[in-house]
Amino acid sequence: MTGGPLIQLEGITKTFGTGAAAFQALKGVDLTISRGEFVAVMGPSGSGKSTTMNILGCLDVPTGGVFRFRGVEVQKLDRDQRSLLRRRYLGFVFQGFNLLARTTALENVELPLVYRGEAKAARRKAAMRALDQVGLGPWADHTPAELSGGQQQRVAIARALVTEPDVLLADEPTGNLDSERSVEIMLLLRQLNAEGITILMVTHEEDMAAYAGTIVRFRDGLVERIERGTLATAESLA
């Protein structure tokens, strides 16, 4: 990819259901995100944050509008092509961690590499490095049930990182964590962002949003406001 923004949303609409039951969750979202940004997405519940994240994560397609990712018009791609985009360029962190149960931290982190067709030894090595990066090297052999919530979320982050994605998408990553663990996760995300990964994160808490350089505020299926340059505040917080 040469020049241009990493992510570009133009007049994105999303309607769920049809006929009388139809509900327009997004009413024309315009948003441009450059490489290296750390964006916090905020807004009241039901304002369309998750819907937008799903579209940005190529998990869902908009009903209308144009979504360009690395210059590619994603709304024109089919299911498998979007899977390939996720596999190559995107990492996900969910509120509910979404790790495979009864499967070790290491194997969870290896999973995306399995679909990339990497050899076992290479997978092990990369997964171990990602776990070290989130400070969980010593916990590699533990299953999610044996880890705390904060640790599970760090495993999930390691899984998102292991493919060295362009973008990390996190929908309320600290929603299930206490404030101390939440701060740890935020510091980790900040560090990853400093290393070059573009991060989009949904959060309800202004405290957490303060770690991002950009805050995008949603209301009623539209972008209400974009605040850039909030990072300095965060630095003073830390």
């Binding site: 799903n54 994560g57 998990l59 869902d60 299911r79 498998d80 899977s83 390939l84 985009l85 996720r86 596999r87 190559r88 995107l90 996900f92 969910f94 979404n98 790790l99 495979l100 009864r102 999973l111 995306p112 399995v114 679909y115 990339r116 067709g117 076992k120 899984r159």
Partner: protein, 398 residues
């Protein structure tokens, strides 16, 4: 990737080991039934064929039967000559007569039977001389005291290390010279043990053991190119004529066609095989539906896992392959268990019904492949359902 998928499938199966076993029971039983029956069928066929070949292929066996008046009219060598010379399609005919006796040699004795036959009988019955020679024309015509030994008789009264050919022995009070050994035949037809027999020229046994010219039975070897029923009709006609049987009088003799016996046995085995095939098909169908059911349950239980896999970039076909592999591995394990069960069962049953255990690699491999392919057939729908899940819905699934 496939290796990883198979390992994953095995792990998933081990996680629900009891459920997996119960699910594959239909396949285990179906495969075990098919393999066992085919293996036993092969054993039965082998033992029947051995028996048939001891009767001789394309042979009639002719023997007198008791009439309603309670008398038996035996055949003699004149009947045999007449059949041989007057019926088209008959290659040769040979009479046989037997008696119980005791064989003596070297201080050993052995209760056995002596059978009087000429070389033509050996030919008709495909009996091979292993060591030494057959009877000479002189010995047959003159009723000389020479004999051929079956393997059991030889083992019973002769040293294993030295050939008995040329030595002198005694049968009852008749002394005879051993001129040869007869190949081992296994269980003979008609209830007699061909290996526990001493063969002497027909005339010798008639004269020295029976004291008359009667035959117990005679065999007729016919040209397989001729229609057996036609030969049989002329055979019966000729014998009725020779025995002066009038129009309505029933036959006082019996003619058995060994080829027919062969066919009848084949048909019986075929019917049995067909029955087992039906039972096995039902069992396999039930097993297959069980596999489909359990795979659908598994897909539902693991909806969230599927969501995670799709979210991190698994293609639809990769998810489908994962579940298809699981179904195939499950069915293949069921097939293996069925084969193992069949091995034990057919080994035990074969020795119980006294037929050889004939391991048939083809039916084992075919059954295994069939079982595995059932995984594809019955696992396809659940697997493709998994692959079509919406990642967002799947991730939200509780």
């Amino acid at each position: 990737m496939l290796g990883t998928t198979i390992l994953l499938a095995l792990r998933e199966i081990r996680r629900h080991i009891l459920r997996s076993i119960l699910t594959t029971l239909g396949i285990i039983i179906g495969v075990a039934a098919v393999v066992t029956m085919v293996t036993l069928g092969n054993g039965v066929t082998a033992s029947v064929q051995e028996e048939i070949s001891s009767l001789g292929a394309s042979n009639f066996i002719v023997f007198p039967v008791r009439t309603t008046r309670g008398t038996i009219r035996p055949f003699d060598e004149d009947d045999v000559r007449a059949v041989e010379q007057q019926i088209a399609g008959v290659k040769l005919a040979a009479g046989s007569v037997g008696a119980s006796t005791t064989a003596f040699n070297n201080g050993q004795d052995w209760d056995t039977r002596v059978q009087g036959v000429n070389n033509a009988f050996f030919e008709a019955q495909s009996i091979d001389i292993e060591d030494g020679r057959a009877f000479s024309t002189d010995e047959e015509a003159g009723g000389k005291n020479v004999c051929l030994l079956g393997t059991k008789v030889r083992e019973a009264i002769f040293l294993p290390t030295v050939s008995p050919v040329g030595s002198q022995m005694r049968l009852g009070d008749v002394s005879c010279q051993v001129i040869g050994l007869v190949e081992e035949r296994g269980q003979g037809g008609g209830g007699s043990d061909d290996d526990d027999t001493v063969y002497m020229p027909l005339k010798t046994v008639q004269r020295r053991f029976r004291g008359n010219d009667n035959l117990d039975y005679f065999v007729v070897k016919y040209d397989a190119a001729y229609a057996a029923p036609v030969i049989q009709d002329s055979l019966v006609g000729l014998l009725r004529e020779r025995r002066l049987l009038q129009g309505e009088e029933p036959n006082d003799f019996n003619v058995i066609d060994t080829a027919q016996v062969n066919q009848a046995l084949g048909a019986a085995t075929g019917a049995l095989t067909a029955m087992v095939a039906v039972i096995a098909s039902i069992s396999l169908l039930v097993g297959g539906i069980g596999i489909m059911n359990i795979m659908l349950v598994s897909v539902t239980e693991r909806t969230r896992e599927i969501g995670i896999r799709l979210a991190i970039g698994a293609l639809a076909r990769e998810v489908r392959l994962q579940f298809l592999t699981e179904a195939v591995v499950l069915c293949a394990l069921g097939g293996l268990a069925g084969i193992a069960l069949a091995f034990v069962a057919s080994f035990g049953l074969a020795s119980a019904i006294d037929v050889p255990f004939v391991f048939d690699p083809v039916i084992n491999i075919v059954s295994f492949m069939f079982a595995a392919s059932m995984g594809i057939v019955f696992g396809y729908y659940p697997a493709s359902r998994a692959s079509k899940l919406d990642p967002i819905d799947a991730l939200r699934h509780e």
